[in-house]
């Protein structure tokens, strides 16, 4: 059984933008290990002969006509956050990486 490395767990947490406390680190490492084991179980039983299935059905794709339905009251979206001001969503400044 392949064991998941600590660095992998840290990397995954970073990719998911989630901080891990020490306790969480332990419990989530276990979760990742479990997930990995499930994946390995599947590997043993893989049948390459069969096509992939992403969806229960794959009927004809649904598309729509190119018609605009303008929103009457866009303020209702802006009111969803207190961090909306002067027409913009505010976020902390992004520190540019040095060139």
């Amino acid at each position: 059984m392949t064991e998941i490395k600590e660095t992998t767990v840290r990397k995954i947490a970073h990719a998911a933008r989630i901080n891990l406390s020490d306790e969480e680190f332990h419990s989530y490492s276990e979760a990742l290990q479990n997930m990995f084991n499930l994946a390995e179980q599947l590997e043993r039983e893989d049948s390459l002969g069969i096509s992939q299935m992403a969806h229960p059905f794959e009927p004809a794709s649904l598309t729509r006509d190119d018609v605009v339905h303008p929103e009457k009251d866009v303020d209702k979206f802006h009111r969803l956050t207190p961090y909306f001001s002067q027409g913009f969503y505010e976020v902390p400044a992004i520190i540019e990486e040095p060139s």
């Binding site: 229960p56 649904l62 961090y83």
Partner: protein, 485 residues
Amino acid sequence: MHKKSIVELSASLAKAEISSVELTQHYLKRIKQYNKNLNAFITVIEEQAMQQARLADQRRAKQEYVTPLTGIPIAHKDIFSTKDVLTSCGSRMLSNYIPPYNASIVEKLQDAGMVLLGKTNMDEFAMGSSNENSYYGSVRNPWNPDYVPGGSSGGSAAAVASRIIPCATGTDTGGSIRQPASLCGITGLKPTYGRLSRHGMIAYASSLDSGGILTGNAEDTALLFNYLACFDPKDSTSIQQPTPDYTAKLNQPLDKLRIGIPTEYLAHDLNPDVLNALEQAKSIFLSMGVTFKSISLPHTHLAIPVYYLVSCAECASNLARYDGVRYGYRCKHPKDLTDLYFRSRSEGFGSEVKRRILAGTYTLSGSSYDTHYRRVKRMRHVISNDYQNAFKEVDVILGPTAPTPAFRLGEKLKDPITMYLSDIFTVSNNLAGVPGISIPAGFSSNLPIGIQITGNHFTEAKLLNIAHQFQQQTDWHKRIPEQFA
């Protein structure tokens, strides 16, 4: 009043024996009385409900836009967007989120004249099988408050089982309607994937998520399903097929029916009471002229791994939008953008959600995407083929809904994998997109046991017919926990 079925209540409303206002007041009173202990509701909207009830009464009085559901109270799982009403999805992340629009399902039932009383508790982002993962606290099983109601639609199931609401919507990604229905002793339908619109339903795993309904019996389910099932142009995965009248064939005899019980289900480590309930159900069906056949779903053991890999991958992606920028929880005083992302997400999500996000991020990450995700999709096809082969031999498949009755609160919290296994009989339906209904079929020391009937795609009418016929012969579905009688 609360002991009547929706069909009966609808008849009383039609004959003006009761009004929607009375009915609504009655249920609001029951919610007030019992919810404190059950914790089934996150939000109760008394004033709006009364207003809608008055409107429903007016509609009935004027005979304008009256449907059988006009004036009947309902609750929505807190995963369905309700305009101007908190839609938290059981999460701190959305504990301040008031949607500016209605989910299609909400809109449809509102158009039918149903009266919305509130939003039900649930496992955070529908991730869980016990309803212990809610930011708003655990829900109690009405049959025994020390036990879980199942999840993730645990609030809906507990509310319907205690008759503090006649019906409630739910969602089912791996069993989240059927398993709590089973554990609470009510009827829960997970339809064919795409039969109900997902528009406005907050996503957990898009290719598995199904909206559905929890009620006291199959006949009520059929009635509601008539107003829920439809094609929705706002959902690309919605099915563009006309819907039949689901109540039309409820009374068809079952004598030509062929039911299969998968050998794999029986080989599983089943609770003896659950097995007994299944045997009993079988003999009832036999007495109705049904033919039984032993069948095989040879890849059942793969369902759980495939389910977790698919659902976690999709969950990691679907939940990437919660970054604190445009709505939802934002951490206090972020140092910079990175801090905003990390802290908003770490503080906003609960531990099970984070666990699944990490597992999914792992599944989707560069090195493992090819090996894992593609493989998983192939295996999904394998599982789906099992069903198609089975449906060549039988009309429907019968099995337990869950391997055990309800378990104690906290019992499985520390052990996610055992918790995941409580979905063993339900997840395959979601992977294959086929419908399933859980109906009450017995008890184990005063805790309900459910059985599940699974049919091929679009066979909801058939499933409801079978469930209804079963309920003509049994009275499990009529039982209410003493305390709530």
